[in-house]
Symmetry: D2
Subunit: 320 residues, 4 copies
């Protein structure tokens, strides 16, 4: 017999964990979010290799420290990202992005030297700073270098504990960026190579990821936003005897359009990327809302279970 | 000078209010949600007539008690809804909806006597119960009756404090349902009229709403999901000298399609429905996630400010 | 064995019919559109009662004459619509809507007396004309009147062959508008009633629709845009022993949000509104593109098959 | 004074060109599509370097020959694509994709050896064929090779005039694939490298694209589906003194989510990627519908204007 819908009970002063707990008995997106928390809690418990993919302008939108916090808490074993998120991670080390308006007149913004990402701006000055940093820290070397190695090299030079690059470097988390040339890091590398030596080796990057997939007895993946990071991380399983056993996807795309970013996780089962027995869920919507909810609720649950379980501890001191 | 993006800081044990506070410095949907909380807090403070419109299957999805709680807390002065949400409100008085699967085979569900709303089911038995209730409580009268009057009449007979209909009746909140015939209440009224007398008067309903708009010095509106309730509530201002001064919209639709449900609130300014000086924001996404977040954070803030302010009280006992 | 994907072959000078024929062997939306044409061709052939529902601002966007043409060609037996589409149908009789910009400053538009629907404007003058027409043609009568009767009355006074109201009147097609009060026709009726007599009877409207459903041996439905018209037309089958056997839906909404407008047609099978054996398809996307494609291709096919079939006649003279 | 909306006039036997012409006077998506045809017609006329970006599963969905036809007609100077579209281009040379169901049980599909892309299947046999081809045609060489060079090498070995790779090779159109490792070509290259020599040079790829951008006096871009190809092609302009002067985007994403794929083209103006004086338009919706419409209408117009203009020639013989 099917379970009953349980009408949500909302009160002042609720914790995020309690809010998500209320969502468990609901339909639609609320239910999927509660399921995502269940799956994420299992993924962050012992025994899973944890893959995280980033796509979309998450760092400019304010999600940078959620990612670096997850890394520092040992909740990420492999990070796969667009180049842009790393560019903006470096930019944040010298100054914050700016809050703007999605209705701004873009020709005027150009004259003022502001580049727009929906309602976030970056000034030309910030890009100049970025360029100076990059021209200083990009290596000059004869031997080809893989993406993860180059990003370790960059991460080691960044003096900012909230940086994704630095946190990954500190924690030994490899960063894969299969389209690194498709970013301002790529443009800076191209500029750098006008006078210095630098050569990327994308197949070595693939090699490193496949090795991790081979060696991971049980794997779980959280996919933020689709795109190349999603596909790169899923396809690496294809040449191994394994599949992901846990999977979460936060996306604004829809299956009906047929594109990869909106494809259901079930579709990945037909490819053998995700196990038929896997637990997985897609939460449709804006990741700047759903990611903080998901992470906050999951960390709360983990903190509670570490403390010996019992009822949710809403007053729990921040762990970090 | 533009404000800086503030990267979110997520911790275990956070309150919903603290989470939304972290969203304030972000871009994209997170920022809009934080703005919605600001606007809703102002709307729920003294001096505004508070309009709430419901569209989409909010009650089957578990949002029923959020609505009735808002009503009982005197945070709703006018409710405008689809008939379906009232049908499901009545159904909940005799038993809960069921959790199902969006991938179920619908022909099989029909054979099992289950009707599906995405991942929620209702059994034929529940509809039979509903029919019995309706045939008992629908009035037999010569005089035409307005929608709000009929719904007051229904609400008075429902013995369930968590019911939207009952809560509205108890609190003197009128319910407008401009397409009442487009619902199972409508079908039951049609059936009832085969043997009894019942006549609806939709223009009287319009009259009652316009009168409230006329008399409201300052008005704020929260729109959940677009549709007829959105338009009905907005258009009533057109024949008054006033406009809404605060407006929030939670929707999954987008402006580019040109339909009313996804239309920006700014568009309503061109019509004179919303004041040019109004504060308004649209949060795109699933209302079953965004509504609980919005309401929980706003109630927390109100509770804190009533208690003399100070830092958010995460351990705050439930107020109700 | 599954059929093969057939790669589209696009040439200059193609007919719409040939284009859609090429879509038949494709995936995603193209395939759904070709299926919709197949289903619509069957629906417009003998033996089906043809229901058409309109939602969204189709008339302001330029779809008015597609609808009236379908009516005049006897391809519509029942029309269910939002009030807004009828309001704009009447406005078009005295002058066209205006092409505007979705980025216009809405406060300025208000000062200029322009109301915006995405990228279409209506001037205050047009609304004044509309008001004059309405105050002239609205009846003054003691007896309650059903929506279809009132709309027949309005249609009979409109001297414009391209009007939806007039075409429906001429062809004897009833127009159902279950939320008529939720439109400027409703506001004008309310105004009219300040000094004259006018009373709507929504349950009589339901009665008329249910009678048609009862008497229709085989029924097909085309749903443009969801909303109240979709639900009203589908639910009327619930109190009959019948179901729709053909169904097409053009929508920009998605099932994942759980709302009715994006609900799959399969979901309606679980309710008994659509037959388990029915042929149905949803085409996701903008109806201002997909509707003309669908109608043009279907009319071409019907014209060809009436002429004895054979290869598509691209030079075919317009039939009307 | 604003132009008037012109209600569409749909007839049997219409040409695609005539249909789009009718859309010109409409609102919403129809209007955008007609604008896209205007812009594309200008782009395909003399004097523009024509960039085309492909993202999403366009080849599996049946769009392969539209792309190769555009290439063979000299309507593409630069192609930027995901690896997946090239993988499926190669697969099509040995046999077609299969039409499937989006509701298939994915675990069963895996057992049957079928991989699903929404409603399209590929069998394991096809992947085995693909693997054999790739292991035969991938080069064994010491020197690093750029993506475009590798793809020229692959294209030269493909004996299929409808192939995108072969058409590009024949016509001298470079193919950029900034995330080539993120595809089965990448996986095959990785496999190949276990025993042979092969090294990609992504920065050389960037170099080649930037050189083209530098040398293009006037540039136009058509973006299908966003993603890495969109960004890679737009960002290359950043290090030149130029910007795109014409731009078309077909996408299912929306600006409100903040991601690049749904970002407005106006946003690219703030970055200097698109000129403030540029003509550009985004058509929201399924590219498997909108691309054939756009290409068919534009080719028709070009054919007509080449033939001395005059009224649209609906019976025009296919040009190819």
């Amino acid at each position: 017999m099917a379970d009953a819908v349980r009408q949500m009970d909302i009160r002042p002063g609720m914790s995020v964990e309690a809010l998500v707990e209320e969502m468990r008995g609901c339909g639609f997106g609320a239910r999927r979010l509660a399921q995502a928390v269940d799956i994420y809690e299992e993924m962050l418990s012992d025994g899973y290799t944890k893959f995280l993919t980033l796509s979309g302008a998450l760092v400019p939108a304010g999600m940078r420290e959620i990612v670096s916090e997850l890394i520092r808490r040992e909740h990420v074993d492999v990070l796969v990202t667009t180049g842009a998120n790393l560019v903006h991670d470096i930019i944040e080390t010298v100054g914050p992005h700016l809050l703007g308006s999605p209705e701004a007149e873009d020709g005027c913004l150009r004259e003022e030297g502001l580049s727009r990402i929906y309602d976030v701006y970056i000034s030309d000055d910030q890009f100049i700073n970025f360029e100076e940093i990059m021209q200083t820290i990009l290596p000059d070397r004869e031997e080809p270098i893989s993406g993860p190695d180059l990003l370790r090299c960059l991460g080691s030079t960044i003096d900012d504990k909230r940086s994704i690059l630095r946190s990954s470097y500190d924690m030994g988390v490899p960063i894969f960026c299969p389209a690194l040339a498709d970013s301002m890091i790529g443009l800076q590398a191209w500029l750098h190579r006008q006078t210095k030596k630098l050569r990327l080796d994308p197949l070595a990057e693939l090699n490193e990821l496949i090795d991790i997939c081979y060696e991971s007895e049980r794997s779980g993946i959280m996919i933020l936003g689709g795109g190349v990071p999603k596909n790169f991380c899923l396809q690496a399983m294809l040449v191994t005897p394994r599949s992901y056993e846990l999977a979460i996807q936060l996306t604004t795309d829809h299956p009906e359009a047929g594109g990869l970013s909106g494809a259901t996780l079930s579709e990945a089962v037909s490819w053998g990327k995700i196990a038929p027995s896997a637990r997985f869920v897609t939460v449709y919507g804006d990741a700047t809302i759903n990611l903080p909810l998901l992470v906050s609720a999951t960390l709360s649950r983990l903190a509670n279970s570490n403390h010996g379980g019992g009822p949710a501890n809403n007053c729990g001191e921040a762990v970090r």
